[in-house]
């Protein structure tokens, strides 16, 4: 583990260099502990795959004290990937109509569309990070057979709810946005709703399963085509 300066009031802790459930669990544990021990000297934190950005109030503390909190916290971390997060099932309408890249992805992978859907929906994914946009959860890792490089030209407009694959990551777009991931379906569940409580169905450390649904069910659940 390695602590680096990030900016005038932030340090970043590196727990590893790869996507790994054990490392991700340590990031979560460290975030929870630091939130308690730093109390109101903490401004914000950004947990990601293998790092934790810690932003502190430089008028209430300093980087020496924050480094001490980090050292003490890291010394007490467990070494098991305890699955504390909840399991969330997200329904997905997979089809050429809702996922314009589904057929090309299957063709490139030398699989049938049905096999791609089965492989994507039989795995359990971990929420490694939330960022890019509010509610955008980075889920990993997809089976290598259906991993797919980003589009060479990103789309200007990806619809809300688009279920997508990029390399070995998968995600559901929480809002209409530009994007270069391969679109394979649509999820009717809102991934970010400022009016709802909680605003997001998932948080970092949770596990996600995708459950295939038919067109009629997608529409009945409030999905829009």
């Amino acid at each position: 583990m390695n602590v680096e300066i990030a900016g005038e009031n932030s340090l970043i802790i590196y727990f590893g260099e790869t996507t790994d459930p054990l490392v991700s669990a340590q990031v979560q544990q460290a975030a929870a502990r630091l939130e308690t021990v730093m109390a109101d000297a903490l401004i914000d934190m950004v947990p990601s795959y293998a790092s934790l950005l810690v932003i502190y109030d430089q008028h209430k503390t300093d980087h020496y004290a924050v480094r001490r909190h980090i050292r003490e916290t890291l010394a007490q971390l467990g070494h098991t990937a305890q699955q504390a997060g909840q399991v969330i099932t997200l329904p997905v309408y997979y089809s050429a109509e809702s996922g314009p890249d589904l057929e090309a992805l299957a063709e490139n992978a030398k699989l049938t569309v049905a096999e791609v859907i089965r492989i994507h929906s039989e795995m359990e994914y971990r929420v490694y990070a939330i960022g890019f946009a509010p509610g955008f959860a980075y889920l990993g890792e997809v089976d290598p057979r259906i991993a797919a490089a980003r589009l060479s030209t990103p789309r200007l407009k990806v619809p809300r709810g688009a279920v997508a694959i990029a390399d070995r990551q998968t995600a559901v777009y929480p809002a209409v946005s530009p994007g270069g991931w391969n679109l394979i379906g649509l999820c009717p569940t809102r991934m970010f709703n400022p009016e709802a409580d909680p605003t997001m169905p998932v948080q970092v450390g949770d596990r996600v399963r995708f459950s295939p649904i038919e067109r009629a069910e997608f529409l009945a659940l409030g999905g829009e085509l």
């Binding site: 300066i5 260099e17 950005l53 430089q58 008028h59 960022g131 946009a133 980075y138 948080q203």
Partner: protein, 312 residues
Amino acid sequence: MSGFLVKQPGLLTLIQDAGRYGQHRIGLTTGGPLDGEAFNWANRLCGNELDASGLEVSIGGLVLEAQVDTALAVTGADMPFKINGQDVARWCTHKVKAGDKIELGFATSGSRAYLTVAGGFNVDQSFSSTATVTREAVGGLSGDKLKQGDLLPCQAHSPTELWALPESEQPDYNADVTLRVILGYQHQTFDSVQQRLFFSSEYALSSRADRMGFRLEGQPVKSQLNGILSEGICHGAIQIPADGQPIVLLNDRQTIGGYPKIGSVISRDTAHLSQRMPGAKIRFEEISLEKAHNINCLAQRRFINMSLQQIA
């Protein structure tokens, strides 16, 4: 509640408070005023708390009509400022009455002005802040920039004292900018030659500059890494993509990104950067984290202890 009616919204006028904190874990960015110094002075001139809600007026073109008697102040960029058609000074408090017309013309120096009223605008918080981030459709009146016909609610106020910031404290937005940088993040992946190139070259501010980040153009700098596992990005972080051209990330940055970063610009300097127009010349200077803490702590003491001039 009454307040100020938006007759003309200007090019980009946003409701801002001190920013949105503690929400990065659901992917929400910070928002808040790009030039925090000018914003803080505007609130102090109105006797407000520093997190009161005011307006960030980019480039200009704002016309408001007061529906209440109160006091207001304008700081930041030099925009022709008129009350009922009369030129009035920035960096000081003015009394206004219901029916008064408040106009901010287009910036002649700097690019962002801050307008605050006594007591602040009374806007509902979303995610513990009123800061508007249009990309996320969060904050402000409806997650968007001001529109004609919007009402900016505030309470009537009868100010007994009016204040001005001494001229010696008012910034010069035409001065050259040297951005003080704390080395950090992936700085070791920029070898000593690349670091020397970076700190000895002059960059120009590109026209691709918005509240997410300011792109600079000039001497390319290369990291030995192409990309990194996506990680949190702090305010002021200098991201260097494969084309070698630095991007200084600001208030509306995305919370997570995957480009190598050489370090971060201190917030006092991003404030001055944000006032510059495309083409402005920019240099970087390395400082230590200790020096940055000293600069920021002393600046805070100076802000707290600086006396405003009473003008009425």
